[in-house]
Symmetry: none
Subunit: 220 residues, 2 copies
């Protein structure tokens, strides 16, 4: 019997998860949490096998909650769920010690099998992310540079992080949103944005967005 704690700030989402999990006879939902703080506390109290963790939550977010739970030394595994398949969440989540990372796009059966996999000590990553995670980790290695497909010279000077920043600028995120969603200080975001503007020759973020579209970094 696998015991699960559901951490999500949306009541409807929790309801759906609970219904799904309790329809399985090898799973029990011990409790629910509406934010990261609650998740950490209830995990310490209840010692579930798996915490189903949403990333975006008010107060303490899912990533930081994951970090605290895995740092506590408990054998509780964390399976992170997010609405979007944003790489940054995956990196942060896995670095924080999560055992798995799924997008809410998943089929119910995938979630269930993901929970079972995580409970038994395996790791699980959403299919669409696996390749990009590998790419990113390969890129992290010193040898990595066979990538001659640099599309546009304007992007050549950007570091990985800066390219990432440009991407989310291209999605219309404000500095505050970038800071929140990438777990950075707003001052750091401003530093990055400033460097992106300088390197791409953009006067402001509007021109940076245009640059992102023109270089194909983001697409309509």
């Amino acid at each position: 019997m696998t015991t699960v704690l559901i951490a999500d700030d949306q009541p409807l989402q929790r309801f759906g998860f609970r219904m799904l999990l309790e329809s399985q006879d090898d799973m029990t939902v011990l409790d629910e949490a509406a934010n990261g703080t609650e998740a950490v506390r209830k995990t310490a109290d209840l010692r579930p096998d798996v915490v189903l963790m949403d990333v975006r939550m008010p107060g303490l977010d899912g990533i930081e909650a994951t970090r605290r739970i895995t740092a506590s030394g408990d054998r509780t595994r964390v399976l992170i769920l997010t609405t979007f398949d944003l790489d940054e969440y995956a990196y942060a989540g896995l670095r924080a010690g999560a055992s798995g990372f799924l997008v809410k796009d998943a089929q119910p059966e995938d979630l269930l099998s993901g929970i079972r996999a995580v409970a038994s000590g395996d790791a699980v990553v959403a299919p669409g992310l696996t390749r990009r995670l590998l790419d990113a980790y390969v890129h992290h290695l010193p040898a990595g540079g066979t990538e001659s497909a640099q599309p546009d010279p304007r992007l050549a000077a950007l570091t990985d992080r800066e390219r990432e920043i440009l991407t989310v600028i291209g999605k219309g995120w404000t500095n505050t949103e970038i800071a929140e969603r990438l777990h950075l200080a707003e001052s750091t975001v401003k530093t990055h944005v400033g460097r992106v503007l300088a390197k791409t020759g953009s006067r402001d973020r509007v021109q940076a967005v245009i640059c992102a579209y023109e270089t194909g970094l983001v697409q309509p």
Copy 2:
């Protein structure tokens, strides 16, 4: 007995809604749709009382699907659900003929009562949005009439001048530059820009640029 069609691209979300609705003895879920096209087709086939419509869906989005459903003259009511309380969706959704607009933050009971309200002909709007909607509608009433073969619904409500303004915003011009090059006062430009943002559902000019690219008004 209220019949409902669930339109959402996320299987887990659909599952949650279905479970919630079918736990009520005055509601029946006729079917589910994973995108806007499916939603329109199944609505025409099944004639549900209410369509529970997600905004973000691949292919045809919830707003456009809503427009087609309400334009068909059926008595089917559309209740739009979105993850975020973004005003732009609300404006566009209600302009498209939706009978209600709720955020997924809502309590399950709120969703249920919302469905009942909509089914009985009432309108329902998420509490946090009501005030802002009223404020916006004091200015310009919903645009009626002229929409026909407009490529993108978000541009439908724009006047010629406003479309022109959006185009140059998409070129990265500042308000000052627009004023100079179009021989206008900067205050006039601001007025136009403000209306463009409201009508396209953009929070700021960055999102307006994205809108311009996504609608094809400007191209990379």
